[in-house]
């Protein structure tokens, strides 16, 4: 884990208070609150059904929370209530300032168009209208995520799982977002590919000064990427703190169980 950039003078990027997501009578997550600073990576860990994805969906404005507030600092420095913004501005944020990396790359990619078009789509969505420049950026980003440049005109459906996931990351980062949401970014990949992807994400996050919220059930991923951890169970945050602190000295019985259930090879 890299050192947490502690910038006292900078206000938080995201402030979440009392966030509750409900599906009718069922609760997705309850009363979640935290702050995220620029350049910080927050890991959310917990078992399946613990409310990780519900929380992520609410944070990325995909579903409207039943209660609580999310404030996000816009590029002009003002703190805006996410659900007080108009839908137009919210969708604009999602396309430019934010990135969402899905667990299944097929949810985040357009499989029927080439890799270049996948990377270029966000640029075109924010008004790029010069083919040569769009293609230049696409090539540049394919290089950054270690995809051969001569694959630019191939469809992602012909890519391996790891390549698809890297392409998805490139597609999200091309507009220089400030905040990236990742839902199990290494899910479904074999360990060696996972390791390379983690290296890549760690490098990109450090180089670009991104803030990221990473949902994972894999504590190794959390240990490698996250500065801070939140442990969730049954829709509630049971423990939070610095990653090393939470993983090396777990306080809550559930966290202790989680940490002790890692296979030691």
């Amino acid at each position: 884990m890299s050192a947490l950039p502690m910038l006292d003078d900078e206000p938080p990027l995201l402030v979440v208070e009392g966030l509750t997501v409900a599906y009718g009578n069922r609760v997705g997550c309850r009363d979640v609150g935290f702050e995220l600073w620029p350049g910080e990576v927050l890991g959310i860990v917990g078992e399946s059904g613990s409310g990780k994805t519900s929380l992520l969906n609410a944070l990325s404005a995909k579903i409207e929370p039943a209660a609580g507030t999310i404030h996000y600092r816009l590029r002009d420095g003002t703190m805006a209530d996410l659900f007080g913004l108009s839908e137009a501005v919210r969708r604009q944020l999602l396309r430019t300032d934010w990135g969402v990396v899905h667990q299944n790359p097929r949810d985040g990619l357009r499989l029927t168009v080439s890799a270049g078009a996948n990377v270029g789509e966000r640029l075109m969505a924010v008004g790029a209208r010069h083919y040569g420049e769009i293609r230049g950026s696409a090539l540049d980003w394919l290089g950054k995520v270690e995809i051969d440049r001569d694959r630019i005109d191939d469809r992602p459906s012909s890519f391996s799982g790891g390549m698809q996931q890297r392409l998805q990351i490139a597609r999200n980062l091309v507009t220089n977002p400030r905040l990236v949401f990742m839902d199990e970014p290494t899910g479904g990949l074999d360990v060696s590919v996972q390791a390379r992807l983690l290296d890549l994400i760690r490098g990109l996050v450090a180089d670009l000064g991104l803030s990221a919220i990473i949902v994972t059930h894999d504590l190794a991923v959390a240990r490698l990427l996250a500065h801070r951890l939140m442990v969730m169970r049954g829709g509630e945050v049971v423990e939070s703190g610095l990653t090393d602190q939470v993983l090396d000295d777990p306080q809550h019985p559930y966290t202790q169980l989680l940490v002790s259930s890692i296979l030691q090879v």
């Binding site: 969708r91 270049g116 209208r129």
Partner: protein, 278 residues
């Protein structure tokens, strides 16, 4: 042709339906390029043959109107003749093949070569009105995209064309932006005809019967074809002139003349070609 079919209302549709369609048309004219939903009726021809166009024509046609119907540029194909006879029988209106004489021109796939004039109405038959449909199957989502002018992803298609073919390979139904606001499908006309839509003195109405949508381009409205800065919009061109009339500026069809590889290029607009040769 003044004898109309007994038992039918003027121009086939009942007055209440016509009023409903006219309201949709008025709204469409007020918001250029916006797709207005309307209660499309069953018509005595199959979907895909112009049920949308025929309903628009039926609700705007008056006894003094002169109707021209073209299908792929020709006045004498089955579809064009049938629709012309339909209105001759149900409305008793005069029909013509001459673009200049017509007040209403219902069309499938072409805009006449003869420049349109103020007072004329073009009625386009539209199979699929939604330009965003190929990238977004949900109607709720495409409507939101229209509302928020989220049209960037449309260029993904052109990007793909250039990446694979070196140029924009979309040749018909080429998407346009109307009045700097709404993205619109101009119906399956060749992109050759797109510039004719821009600042046209004629009123242009688009009817999609199966999809139940009407949209419009009012006279003298800006219609811009999408493109890239380094790959600007361009229309088709031919190395040959029309075999019959010698035109080098009209849209040409390639016609096979025998089974020995013989072929010739002729104007797709039969009326235009005939006017030039006579």
């Amino acid at each position: 042709m003044t004898q109309t079919l007994a038992g039918y209302n003027f121009a086939y549709l009942d007055e209440q339906t016509k009023r409903m369609i006219r309201r949709a048309i008025l709204k469409a004219v007020a918001i250029p390029g916006y797709q207005v939903p309307f209660g499309s009726r069953e018509m005595p021809l199959p979907y895909g043959w112009g049920t949308g166009g025929i309903q628009v024509t039926a609700s705007i046609i008056g006894r003094a109107d002169v109707l021209k119907v073209i299908d792929q540029g020709a006045d004498d194909t089955t579809n064009a003749i049938s629709i012309r006879r339909f209105f001759a029988k149900t409305a008793g209106v005069a029909t013509t093949e001459h673009t200049a004489d017509a007040t209403i021109i219902q069309t499938r796939h072409r805009v006449p070569e003869t420049p349109l004039r103020a007072g004329q109405i073009m009625v386009y038959q539209v199979p699929i009105p939604e330009p965003l449909r190929w990238l977004e199957p949900r109607e709720t989502e495409t409507r939101t995209m229209h509302a928020l002018t989220e049209y960037g992803a449309m260029h993904v298609r052109f990007y793909e064309d250039i990446a694979h073919y070196g140029r924009i390979a979309t040749t018909y139904d080429y998407p346009v932006i109307v009045n700097d606001r709404y993205l619109m499908r101009p119906s399956p006309i060749p992109k050759f005809d797109n510039p004719k839509l821009d600042m046209s003195p004629a009123l242009q109405l688009f009817g999609a019967g199966r999809e139940k949508r009407i949209y419009a381009v009012p006279p003298f409205t800006k219609v811009k074809s999408l493109d890239f800065q380094d790959h600007p919009f361009a229309i088709e061109s031919w190395d040959e002139a029309c075999h019959l009339c010698g035109s080098t500026t009209s849209f040409l069809d390639e016609v096979l003349t025998d089974d020995q590889g013989g072929r010739m290029f002729v104007c797709s607009d039969t009326d235009y070609c005939r006017t030039r040769t006579s």
